[in-house]
Symmetry: C2
Subunit: 228 residues, 2 copies
């Protein structure tokens, strides 16, 4: 019996990139989990994990948190199901995606942070404003006014991703695996809460994202989001 | 019978990051190759390849160029020797290192370009100046004067590499493989021609580089370079 504690926004929006990684990893393994949606201010729901961030996975009595640790747990616990890493080298190389992704994620976040604020659950507005204004040392309104300053840096960050996709349909090859889910999560964050677009039809990354959205009976389209 | 055409500088310096990738890949596979050192102005030596860049590998009648294609050729042609990729997913994930590495490489290059000029073979000075000044739209002296402006960007680019090494000794896991050689080549470029240092003792990347230099009977230390 698997249970996934996942971030919830207003109107059923799901904008946590890390929770999307876990959702896709579970689907890749063909595992079903009960989803427990949690607002930012629902941390008591998963306090049993001993920390305060989602995703948290419960597998029977076992509790795992941190999206990377959850992926490794699933790979090690369900080795006979489709592999998330394709072996030890693939797992260790996927770490680089895991550590590199914040470079892109931070730029996405700075561009859509006002959109996130508009879509967090009403109960979470005060929490989100306070925590993000502290993190970035600026008001959400200031961050919003500067939100279009990051386009050039985003294009530079996306360049190696685009270059890879000239050679192969997924970051893990002919079929997707965990490194694809790492990158996909950040695109899902944007799509869930913002009409802003970083990829347009005809862009290799747009086509890749479409393939990712098609996976697992269109799992990535199964919750409220802006049109593609 | 394997032959590798490789870039040569003054005083036996070998500063091509891409040739280092191939050198390490050959050693990883336990393959010996005759090395044919070529100056920038020796392109006639490997004109048989139909293009003008090293590394070029000859394996009997077969000619392969481009460091990535050489790595794939070695993996596919010598499958019973130690794997460079650890399987199809590992190979495709290594592509991301291949496409991402120029981000770091360009910053290294801009920082040490005057040092490279000082260490290219005397026959190549005019070629190097003209081609690089055209590429960057500035004189080598201008580039040299700006060479310390890239430190913050280099630290930002190296951050995900450092983060990975908090979890594992090599980018490919417990042992090095091709993604390690991709990154290592760029550090070898710097070490071959410049006293400038981007990593210091105690830094996870410095310790990794030391482990890389130890490999294959200290192959990385076998040519003229600045002290570590």
């Amino acid at each position: 019996m698997l249970t996934l504690y996942e971030l919830l926004g207003a109107d059923d929006r799901r904008f946590s990139p890390y929770c999307w990684r876990t959702r896709m990893a579970l689907a890749h393994k063909g595992l079903k989990a009960e989803i427990i949606p949690c607002k930012f201010t629902d941390k008591h729901l998963f306090a049993f994990s001993g920390q305060d961030k989602v995703p948290v996975l419960k597998d029977g009595d076992r509790v795992v948190f941190d999206s990377w640790d959850i992926a490794c747990y699933l790979e090690d616990t369900y080795p006979d199901r489709p592999s998330l890493f394709g072996g030890p080298v693939g797992r260790c190389e996927a770490r680089f995606f895991n550590e590199w992704a914040p470079t892109l994620s931070r730029l996405f976040l700075l561009t859509v942070i006002k959109d996130i604020f508009d879509h967090v659950h009403p109960d979470d507005k005060a929490y989100f404003r306070l925590s993000r204004e502290q993190r970035f040392g600026k008001s959400l309104e200031q961050l919003g006014a500067e939100s279009d300053n990051h386009r050039a840096a985003i294009d530079a960050a996306m360049a190696p991703l685009r270059a890879v996709l000239e050679h192969q349909p997924f970051f893990c090859g002919d079929a997707p695996a965990y490194a694809d889910y790492i990158v996909f999560g950040h695109f899902q964050m944007v799509r869930s809460i913002s009409p802003k677009r970083f990829v347009e039809k005809g862009d290799a990354l747009y086509e890749w994202r479409s393939r990712m959205l098609d996976l697992f009976d269109s799992l990535g389209r199964s919750v409220n989001a802006y049109p593609e």
